[in-house]
């Protein structure tokens, strides 16, 4: 499988950079050379890539929250509070910034200042600008990552990387399909090539910035083969542009055999495709997201979900785990609730991190199925792209070869229908045009038939809806009433 997508040329990049940096006043603050200098002078303990690689070598599982508020001082206060309870810090960006609606973000900042509490669901980094963002990085003693959901994150990347953040989440698929309604995939992929190319420039200048495709996608009954295919593609696209530290992600599906298998498969598939594509000098780590679907409202139950996610992260030896909070079902957590999620997670991770990762025959069998599905998808992507991974990806989505359940985007087919089996694993009931190998599809169908029989109802959309509600109602499989 040979892809020959080229790095964006220096000329084209420079041209785009001019445009991007002038799209909002704070863009003018960006100075690449000075930023490289700033990064070089940062203490190495603040570098995300280094922290991840070191943890991975030790088999440690690092813990990271999500957090971001509208105002600078409040944001610093929040992260300063959280850093004692985690290994890696986030800066979660608000949803206006994610849509490049900086005017609205500005309004959100103003109204937050007036009302005394954050009215934004994240930190509007672009509006705050480079200097302010640097004051965040400088106030902290742990590596900080930008976490968002932005189809066009070029300006956000320019500003935050210049400010000293050492990791940047997202990708042209994973921050488009689950996060937008009508952004063409071609466009978001190109914009993310820019981001990766920019990271590549830092890399070339000796500053390693970590990149993390967003694994969970819609967070809702996503079969591992779908999110893994996306992860592999975004990893490859990043490597092509010069990125060298990549963290592939996966969102807990709920079955521990499937989840641990998925974590094994993810790492193996990453190495398989990255080395096949000729890359050798990269660092690959993994991230496991605690349950990304609807949470139970009861905080005690939420703690159960959180701790179980922590356990699976450790059993699957993720390099890091992204932590939920007991407020998840209700709203953006208070900093205390955020800390509680971290503490519960840490306790379980610590109790498990000395223990060997789970390895059982069924885990291996499930991992093999996932790998064969992903290989089938990747083969189609390569065929469709005739040499271009980017084109192949665009066509794969058009054709429904990759199909993300419950995604809001028009550019996603939405024909694949997932449903849980009797054991709680996410299975594919209707593959749409996803080229699931026949013997694996037979397995999915058999598993689902078993459940249907057990529940005495045919597989149907109500079954899927029941599955969607199940965890928030205190179960995994959505049984009929």
């Amino acid at each position: 499988m040979i892809f020959h997508d080229a790095p964006i040329s220096q000329a084209e990049l420079s041209e785009q950079q001019l445009e991007v940096r002038s799209s909002w006043p704070t863009g003018a603050e960006v100075n690449f050379d000075e930023s490289v200098q700033f990064h070089r002078e940062l203490d190495s303990s603040l570098n995300m890539a280094a922290a991840l690689t070191a943890a991975d070598a030790q088999g440690a599982v690092l813990v990271q929250p999500r957090a971001g508020v509208a105002l600078l001082s409040e944001h610093i206060r929040l992260l300063t509070y959280l850093q004692d309870h985690c290994d890696l810090l986030p800066t979660t960006i608000d949803a206006y910034t994610r849509q490049n609606r900086y005017q609205e973000a500005e309004k959100g900042i103003a109204r937050s200042e007036e009302s005394g509490h954050s009215l934004l669901n994240g930190f509007p980094a672009v509006n705050h600008g480079v200097a302010a963002c640097r004051s965040v990085v400088e106030a902290l003693s742990k590596p900080v990552q930008i976490r968002h959901g932005t189809p066009d994150a070029r300006l956000l990347a320019e500003i935050t990387l210049a400010a000293g953040f050492t990791s940047f989440e997202g990708g042209g698929i994973s921050y488009n399909i689950p996060y937008t309604k009508d952004v063409p995939l071609q466009r978001s992929l190109r914009n993310w090539q820019y981001v990766d190319r920019l990271v590549g420039l830092y890399e070339a200048a000796g500053v390693r910035i970590n990149r993390e495709p967003f694994g969970p996608l819609s967070g809702t009954l996503v079969p591992p083969c779908i999110s893994h295919a996306v992860a592999v593609i975004e990893g490859l696209l990043a490597l092509q542009q010069g990125v060298r530290s990549i963290t592939l992600g996966y969102g807990q599906a709920g079955s521990y055999v499937q989840d641990v298998a998925a974590m094994h498969a993810l790492r193996e598939l990453g190495h398989e495709y990255f080395t096949e594509a000729g890359f050798t000098d990269y660092e690959l780590t993994t991230v496991f997201h605690q349950w990304m679907g609807g949470f139970p409202e009861s905080e005690a139950r939420a703690f159960g979900v959180i701790a179980w996610g922590a356990a699976v992260a450790a059993m699957g030896r993720a390099t890091k785990v992204i932590v939920k909070t007991p407020h998840e079902a209700m709203g953006i957590p208070t900093m205390e609730a955020n800390r509680q999620g971290l503490e519960a997670t840490r306790q379980v991770i610590n109790m498990l991190s000395d223990q060997p990762p789970l390895d059982a025959p069924e885990v291996q069998a499930e991992a093999d199925r996932i790998k064969s599905e992903v290989r089938a998808v990747m083969t189609r992507v390569a065929e469709l792209g005739s040499g271009s991974l980017l084109d192949g990806t665009v066509r794969a989505f058009e054709a429904g070869v990759i199909d993300v359940p419950f995604a809001p985007s028009r550019h996603n087919r939405g024909k694949l229908l997932p449903v849980r089996d009797l054991n709680g694993a996410v299975r594919i009931y209707e593959p749409g045009n996803v080229p699931v190998p026949p013997e694996v599809m037979e397995y999915h169908r058999a598993c689902i038939a078993e459940r249907a029989k057990h529940e005495d109802r045919p597989p149907c959309f109500q079954m899927v809806i029941d599955d969607i509600y199940a965890v928030s109602k205190g179960n995994l499989v959505g049984r009929p009433k």
Binding site: D94, A95, Y96, R98, Q99, R101, E104, K107, G108, R111, H117, S118, L119, L120, N121, G149, P178, Y179, T180, K181, S218, T220, G293, G294, E297, H327, A329, M330, G331, I332, P333, T334, A337, F406, A407, P408, F461, I465, I468
Partner: protein, 142 residues
């Protein structure tokens, strides 16, 4: 009686699609004619659709926390656009963080929403309210 037309959508820059897809399935199943605008819908898009389809009600979702900003002035805008008497519901995670339901209710009532629901909304009773509210407004309004 012809089925009641309702407009569904998720307001603002909000991408949360799952609840929206479920609401569409649910209300269709209950006999409503559902016009689903999906995610990331502006106030004017809601109102355009309501006018075009002669809808009796607009059901606004907001999950991501910016509801307080996105929904401000919704009723006023309906009045401006000539459908001031339309039934307006809103539901989801309507504010940033965990706040008292009563406080949230009041906030959205003051924006002109007729009924305000949390993420734990019992859809069966929402459907009952909706049928009743639409019927009530139908008589004097048109």
């Amino acid at each position: 009686m012809r089925p009641c037309v309702i407009v569904l959508g998720v307001i603002g820059s909000d991408c949360h699609a799952v609840g929206n897809k479920i609401l569409e399935a649910f209300f269709s199943d209950r006999g409503f004619t559902v016009v689903n605008l999906g995610v990331m819908v502006s106030q004017d898009e809601f109102i355009d659709a309501a006018i075009e389809t002669g809808a009796s009600a607009v059901l606004v979702s907001s999950l991501y926390g910016h509801g307080e900003i996105d929904c401000a002035g919704f009723r006023d805008r309906c009045i401006e656009r000539g459908i001031g008497d339309i039934v307006l519901y809103v539901g989801g995670n309507l504010v940033i963080g965990k706040r008292e339901p009563a406080e949230i209710q009041q906030l959205y009532h003051s924006m002109g929403f007729d009924r305000v629901f949390g993420p734990d909304a019992d859809l069966d009773s929402v459907a009952e309210f909706l049928a009743a509210d639409c019927a009530a407004k139908a008589v004097p309004a048109r």
